[in-house]
Symmetry: C2
Subunit: 292 residues, 2 copies
Amino acid sequence: MPKVFIHEVGLRDGLQMESEIVPTGKKRDWALWLIESGVDVIQLGSFVHPKWVPQMADTDDLFFQLTDGKKQHGTIFSGLVLNEKGLERGLSCGVELFCMGVSASETHSQKNTRMSIEEALGRTIRMAKHVLSDKRKVQVSVQSAFGCGYEGLVPEENVLRIVETYLDSGLTSISLADTAGHADPNGVRRLFERVMGLSERIQVACHFHNNFGMALANCWAALQSGVTWFESSFGGLGGCPFTAVPGGNVCTEDLVHMFQRMRIGTSIELSRLIETATPTIPISLSIILNLE
Amino acid sequence: MPKVFIHEVGLRDGLQMESEIVPTGKKRDWALWLIESGVDVIQLGSFVHPKWVPQMADTDDLFFQLTDGKKQHGTIFSGLVLNEKGLERGLSCGVELFCMGVSASETHSQKNTRMSIEEALGRTIRMAKHVLSDKRKVQVSVQSAFGCGYEGLVPEENVLRIVETYLDSGLTSISLADTAGHADPNGVRRLFERVMGLSERIQVACHFHNNFGMALANCWAALQSGVTWFESSFGGLGGCPFTAVPGGNVCTEDLVHMFQRMRIGTSIELSRLIETATPTIPISLSIILNLE
């Protein structure tokens, strides 16, 4: 029975898409429910300037609240950092796994970070090494790995070159993200097989959206290539605010259901997860928050 | 570029689920639009007693209307028959491809046909041979091939035994249907690989529902096993009225989009298909019909 790992990103990738700002106490409740359900990693938020993403302004506070006292569970807390300032903030609170990355599309990189891929890559590697020197975990990613909302096709070679640079820098935990929702299962299998072939030490994660219903097809294709880490959002929340994405993130409870139906063991209690996710599925967050 | 074939079943499997009865003229319009989009086969309806499925009472009439005069297109018209009476009706109008089948679950077979699998299989084979002797096409199916709403797990051996009996009777066009919405992509690949291994002459179709978001994952898994015929419903309409299905049929436009994104050639004009399907997607049929 192969082991897969669920990296729940709804509190970050999900909520950053919503115009409504979710109160810290509500995020904390959701995080506690997700911990109870047994997900492997929860991304509590990102460390970005509140001017740009006000939904994430309380990320530090959320980390402090959830890491106050002795941990009674095995869930790892991750946080997304985009720059050195964010890294400093993350190092000052309880981030256990740092997530950071670059885009494989030059246009997307410029629009998202005002840097070329090359510059962003250099900075990401420097930040990632800083994390490792602090004895914390780091996962580096390639965004727009399966296509770009601005450029369209992204050559597989762009992605492979970035992954090779990561590997050369000793960074072996690598995520490929379909930021723009362009992936199809044939392409997913092909690219992941090439990436998996680059190193035996590599540990690969995937991040898909439900672009035209293909979320689970893409995840299964990734699984076929040997991918064991899956990033997903409870209730299928999410998407990237800086690109035209036709679907939210792959829905955690659908993903876990598919795995468990295939008797692929996850550490997750599906019924608990569904209880957490249910209120967020059919209606927008603003309605939920007003109802409560 | 592999060729796949789309068998559009929305007018039958989709509409039989709806409480509203769609007027024949409206069905005819939809069929004409589907023809324009270039789907390979359209299932216009089923030949069942109007007392049981009043939504299909006009199937003969629809066939007469659409096959009146010289055919100006390459789309094949199929019809579902459940018994000899239906077969006679189908032979009297323009059915080009007859679809019929048995369940792999004893309980489902009894509830659906009041016959054992064995009895239903004998009758289906007799009817299929009758069709072949009339120089028409026939496709035989195995329903509940991936699980049963009543019995749960359906052993793969049940399905293989039925398929072997079909093959022994000279019936090589065979569809496996996930009637109850239990399929997962690992199981799909495993079963189809075993079925494809039974004969080189076999031509296999799949019929999936969007059970918990797995429709396209299951279709892609089937494609991986060599399946080239896909049954789907425009707008994702459908499901079986006699079992607890948690999702409609796989949505034709999503399926065609996935194929075309993978550069798998279909004969279908996706934009035309989406135009046809769009009004049926977000709202129930009764609302559409009242709007028009």
